[in-house]
């Protein structure tokens, strides 16, 4: 939540963004498989965190249960793939899965929006947490959803690319699409309206901002994009259960990535995801059992010491700003 509204995107920013994009497209042909797996996660979860930010980045409506949409997307795609049987090729199944997941999440989010968006602050957060838990439990306990046994998804193979490269590029596409949508929302009247909702919802309504409509729009869009991330994730794993997608730590990580990087910024969730994934999987790669300890400590530290995230820190230290003026950061 910073900077002036409708600030022009400068030529340098376009250039920087293009340079980053080219590097990201070339990466799968130079990086090792391990490095590429890390980059995959940064793009996917950074992208989903950006989808979370469509509502949470501007307003105080912080969903603690976005795993609900993520998991719903993954399960929709999985169950659909199973229902379609083996006669249909993987890519077609993937596309159909994306379409159906988007549709179902659109419907679910639109129905949920009215009651949950009436709740403010912490109540909204807990209601979303409960929603994710309910969906997770339902997927696990009712046999038709097969959540406890899980199901296998067909491998997507593209000639000339291995599986890691393929999904890396898919996740990149997903991330780029989310960046485009986020930038569009942020620079539109909707972004301005949502920022005002984040500051003082009653005053925003009084000034003629259609707060209910904007909140609904951001919530539904956020849910649909998150579910698309869930579908892609499911296909990249090729095998999912309730415990791989309806995970409370996925919900939490979306918030954490956004906070570490900088709330309400475009680059923030990706920077946050990169830092957190680097710390947990490279620095602590051999110490799996310390992940939660470190994640928790970083969360506590960020809230107390740097609530505006890395980008916020940069803005507070103008000296650093010159050197670090990055690519897609400021829009």
């Amino acid at each position: 939540m910073m900077g002036a509204f409708n600030k022009r995107i400068t030529g340098w920013e376009w250039l920087g963004a293009a340079a980053v994009l080219i590097l990201l497209v070339l990466l799968p042909f130079v990086a090792s498989s391990f490095q590429l797996r890390l980059a995959q996660q940064v793009l996917l979860f950074g992208g989903v965190a950006l989808a979370w930010s469509l509502l949470g980045g501007f307003t105080q409506y912080w969903s603690f249960g976005h795993a609900a949409f993520f998991g719903l997307g993954a399960f929709t795609a999985g169950l659909l793939a199973q229902a379609l049987g083996h006669g249909i090729s993987g890519p077609v199944k993937l596309l159909l899965g994306l379409a159906l997941a988007a549709l179902i999440n659109f419907a679910v989010a639109a129905v949920m929006a009215m009651p949950v968006l009436r709740l403010r602050g912490t109540y909204f957060a807990i209601a979303m947490l409960a929603l994710a838990q309910v969906l997770g439990e339902v997927s696990k306990t009712f046999d038709i959803f097969q959540g406890s046994m899980g199901f296998v998804l067909q491998r997507i193979a593209v000639p000339g690319l291995n599986s890691v490269q393929t999904f890396y590029l898919l996740f990149l596409l997903f991330a780029v699409a989310n960046v485009a949508i986020f930038v569009w929302v942020k620079r539109s009247r909707i972004g301005m309206g949502l920022t005002c909702v984040g500051q003082d919802e009653d005053t925003a309504a009084m000034l003629g901002i259609p707060t209910e409509r904007y909140k609904l729009l951001a919530f539904v869009l956020s849910a649909v994009l998150t579910s698309i991330g869930g579908v892609l994730y499911a296909y990249s794993l090729a095998f999912i259960t309730t415990d791989t997608v309806f995970r409370i730590d996925i919900s939490l990580n979306l918030i954490l990535f956004s906070m570490v990087g900088g709330l309400g910024t475009v680059a923030g969730p990706f920077i946050g995801a990169a830092i957190m994934i680097f710390i947990t999987q490279v620095v602590l790669g051999g110490l799996l059992h310390l992940h939660f300890l470190v994640t928790g400590a970083i969360l506590v530290f960020i809230v107390i010491a740097a609530p505006t995230g890395i980008i916020g820190l940069r803005n507070r230290l103008p000296g650093l700003a010159r050197r670090a003026t990055g690519s897609e950061a400021r829009t």
């Binding site: 209601a127 409960a130 300890l293 928790g296 506590v300």
Partner: protein
Amino acid sequence: MNGVILAQTLVDGLILGGIFALSAAGFSLIFGVLGIINLAHGIFVLIGAYIGLAIGRETGIDPLAALPITVIVLYVGGYLLQRTLVAAAVRRGSLMSSLLITFGISLMLRDLILLAFGPNVQTLSSSWLLPTLHWGSVLIDGARATGLIASLVLLGLLSFLLYRTKLGRAMRATAQEDFAAGLCGIDVDNVYASTFGLSAAFAGASGIIIGLINPFVPSDDNYWTLNAFVVVVLGGVGSPMGALLGGLLLGAISTFSSQYVGSLYPNVFIFGTLFLMLILRPNGLLGSAYKGSV
């Protein structure tokens, strides 16, 4: 409907409810006095159970006898946690920051439990349990009955603390209006920390009782946090009576849904209830006992 099954379900529900009530009383207290949703609550419950386990292993002391030690350890731990991290989050001003801080604390503590005890399922056993009773054809499990009695005694103690002692009065005054309480000479920071300590202590005590009845694993903490939230949402914020009412209702919902709908998914009903209550009556069935909910 079979009368015996109905009576048995009711009895089971009430017993479970009493224990739920104790497990949620501390959560409710923090919510009422500090206005914070403590996402580390469930981990406090579990820490109680694990302390009981550790004491039993090292010294052979019965978990119920270890209860006072657990209470003291958690009181001190909760007090210090509030004074340091949680107070810093509250100073940050936003409700979200306290939610995030307590979530971060729960992650760290859960990992520490994992490091100390491993991921396996654990149980507590006590030689002080009541024998299983038969009341007509209705069966009252000894462990559960013991747990219920201990829970009611502890809830009574909490009521006494809140309504009959100086600290309790200070806590209630602070809950109503912290600024004015400060002007009246109440050390508000100390009240906040004491509330947190007391809440952790009662959560830990309930952990021992829960450990006697159910097996537990380190990842149960979210369940107990959300469970406490449901109790508070059902019964209202802040008072032990509200917690008791909410606990009994939740116990009944839990046992009736497993008896008559399906034993596999009581959690679906518990979290479903939470979700519905938030949407329909976010201040609880009775409204809030202390200051208006956020």
